[in-house]
Amino acid sequence: MSARANILGRLKAAPARPGPDLPPWTPPTYADKLARFRQMAEANHAEIHDVTAETWPERLATLLNNRGVGRLMVAPGTPRGDTLLRAAAQGVALPTLVPYDRAVEDLKDTLVHQVDAGLTGTRGAIAETGTLILWPTAEEPRLLSLLPPLHIAVLEEDALHDTLAAVVRDQGWAAGMPTNALLISGPSKTSDIEQTLAYGVHGPKELIILLIKKGE
């Protein structure tokens, strides 16, 4: 008998037990999702900048130049990445843009040692916990939001949801999960040493959210 057959056999031979019906649970809703998101994301140590769909590259350029960011990794083939690449071509004073344009195996050293920041889009965000939703794709790989010391995420105000429960249900996530879905709430942190918060232990030390306001 295989381990599988033995384990399943034992479980199936056990006395049957009724599974309870799920009692009602009403996740919270927020009259002002943006206010809640802002409050929670900032509590998570994220930095939020209100921007417009037209001018965010300029705004980002200023932000990054002030921080002395020299190399920004972007994802070609994504709306956000392409916008930045175009902006740079048009003379916006962005840091050197490094494209995440090949497999990680050929890009490891760059990713680990040679970029200061990475820029991604988002699929939306969760007001309750100040959380960004990212579904990495072939164009926008998983490590772009993880390896560079600074993660910049572009979020549209329209894409705010009350809770994870609401977005999973409303968008029918169960019908088609990506290979990797991520919820990100602030920069990487630890409190393993005397419960003292320290940021950037493995992932980004900072998270900047560029919030594209509705109708602006």
Partner: protein
């Protein structure tokens, strides 16, 4: 009779590993350790309480969480098969292990076939249960822990003392010394940011070089074939994303039915564990790196192969008993240990087990047997603090009592005639059974009871402080004092009636 110390009357061989009561004084007499734990647990309790300000919402949420896990357990074999089918469709290879030895062999086999030499690990209590690192090292594969707490523990050659915060027993100074000694080129620093940065520097290279990543799983969703992992540091994401091979190890009880089951559990777990509304990262893995096909580009990162090892290691035996199976609802938040007045004082190592604290006191005896851990259920005052905060409503005190029973008077599984719990009856003692038989005789016969209590009222105070039990009691307390007249006597004297139909004669 009730002594933990001797062993002769309890039937424990003298070579028995030190029991909880014998191990506790070491921790209790270490003021630094006591301070480290007290401070940490006080902080965690306050942070958790702040996350559940509304008792009605907390009650509703935990009812839901408990029901989600209870329902998943009711369908466990079915859900495991669905999980396996779905993961396989998603391109994840699923393996089954009855024992930790089998699980180790499976993991080793996968690594050897891939030619892996170094492995980077995310935090996984199941891998601790397997003693996986030691197994891999015996076969020439280096396993590096990447969770900061686990990394510290590994450098120190210790084991975790807490399931969420593994190095909670260590303070900053101890960690500073350790880093200065073990990390080449690092000056001793008391700055937490510098210590953290040092670990980042070292581990970054390890991530880049690792041939494989190994992680645990917080929840496995049968419906979508999704492994849900939560963490704050990003090391879990790195371990499961950067190396070309990812192996996840998990207990069979981690499966839930629907993706919709995840939000309530995620609303409970980090809040209960560390008092955070959510962890920095929730990493949902439903498959390996997607290959390019039909002109569409493939993914550029993520492991090209993902494996899941489903470990039983005694869980299917726990499952046989409907009451004890509530143990398997556990989502490993550690709120029970954070709130436990015993754990807070002795810390995790006193339990000499992978899972310390209240959940460990019910889980360890069931996984390892009552011969090895039959004393653990007694290391509790049954104060119920654990049950009060458990996000999935595991009745830990009731299960502690149930295990005390199985240790002295085991019940059998009808189908197999085996004790419900491994080594049932291991704590059986004729002396103790005799005492309770006598107690029953006296306390069920009113006349006899009155005679005995009167005798104690008359002569009970002559019991010497050195008598069995009294000796243990009086190490820290004066002897209890029997009063010359019992309440039975006083009630009658004051004229309180004995029966409803009798009149009261107040005096």
């Amino acid at each position: 009779m009730l002594s933990e110390k001797g062993g002769a009357d309890g039937g424990h061989p003298p070579e028995h590993a030190p029991r909880f009561a014998e191990r506790a004084p070491d921790a209790l007499n270490n003021p630094q350790l006591r301070r480290n734990f007290r401070r940490a647990m006080d902080g965690l309790m306050a942070k958790r309480a702040a996350q559940f300000p509304d008792p009605a919402y907390w009650a509703e949420l935990r009812e839901r969480g408990a029901a989600v896990k209870a329902r998943a357990l009711a369908k466990l074999p079915d859900l495991l098969e669905r999980l396996e089918a779905r993961l396989t469709t998603n391109g994840v290879q699923v393996h089954w292990a009855e024992t930790t030895e089998e699980a180790n062999a499976i993991v080793l086999g996968i690594l050897q076939r891939a030619g892996a030499r170094t492995v980077i690990k995310g935090k996984s209590m199941v891998s601790e249960e397997m003693h996986l690192n030691a197994h891999l090292e015996r076969h020439g594969i280096e396993a590096v822990e990447s969770d900061l707490g686990e990394y510290i523990i590994q450098l120190a050659g210790e084991t975790p003392s807490h399931i969420v915060m593994p190095c909670i027993h260590k303070n900053k100074d101890e960690i500073s010394d350790l880093f200065a000694e073990k990390i080449p080129g690092l000056e001793r620093t008391g700055d937490v940011d510098e210590l953290t940065a040092a670990a980042r520097r070292v581990l970054r290279e390890r991530f880049a070089q690792a041939d494989a990543g190994i992680s645990g799983v917080n929840f496995a969703v049968a419906e979508t074939g999704t492994l849900v992992l939560i963490e704050n540091e990003g090391n879990g994401r790195l371990s499961t994303t950067m190396p070309p091979l990812h192996i996840a190890v998990t207990g069979i009880e981690k499966v839930v039915e629907l993706l919709d089951d995840i939000p309530p559990l995620l609303a409970l777990l980090p809040r209960s564990a560390t008092g955070q509304p959510i962890t920095t990262y929730v990493n949902m893995i439903s498959g390996p790196r997607k290959k390019g096909e039909m002109g569409k580009a493939g993914e550029k990162d993520g492991p090209t192969a993902v494996h899941l090892v489903l470990l039983d290691a005694g869980r299917s035996r726990v499952y046989q008993d409907v009451e004890l199976a509530d143990t398997l609802r556990c989502i490993r938040c550690a709120a029970c240990m954070n709130h436990c007045p015993v754990y807070t004082r002795v810390g995790g190592h006193t339990y000499n087990a992978i899972y310390p604290g209240p959940i460990g006191k019910i889980l360890t005896p069931q996984l390892q047997g009552l011969d090895a851990a039959g004393d653990q259920p007694h290391a509790s005052t049954l104060c119920n603090a654990c049950a009060e905060v458990c996000p999935v409503k595991i009745p830990i005190p009731d299960l502690l009592v149930r295990l005390r029973r199985e240790a002295v008077r085991p019940t059998e599984t009808p189908a197999t005639h085996l004790p419900v719990v491994k080594d049932g009856g291991a704590e059986r003692s004729w002396n103790e059974a005799l005492v309770w038989a006598g107690w029953r005789l006296v306390y069920t016969r009113p006349l006899l009871y009155r005679m005995v209590t009167r005798a104690l009222a008359w002569g009970g105070n002559w019991v010497p402080a050195g008598a069995p039990l009294m000796r243990d009691w009086t190490t820290a307390r004066t002897k209890p004092r029997f009063k010359p007249r019992t309440l039975h006597d006083l009630a009658r004297e004051r004229g309180y009636p004995n029966r409803l139909e009798l009149d009261e004669v107040p005096k």
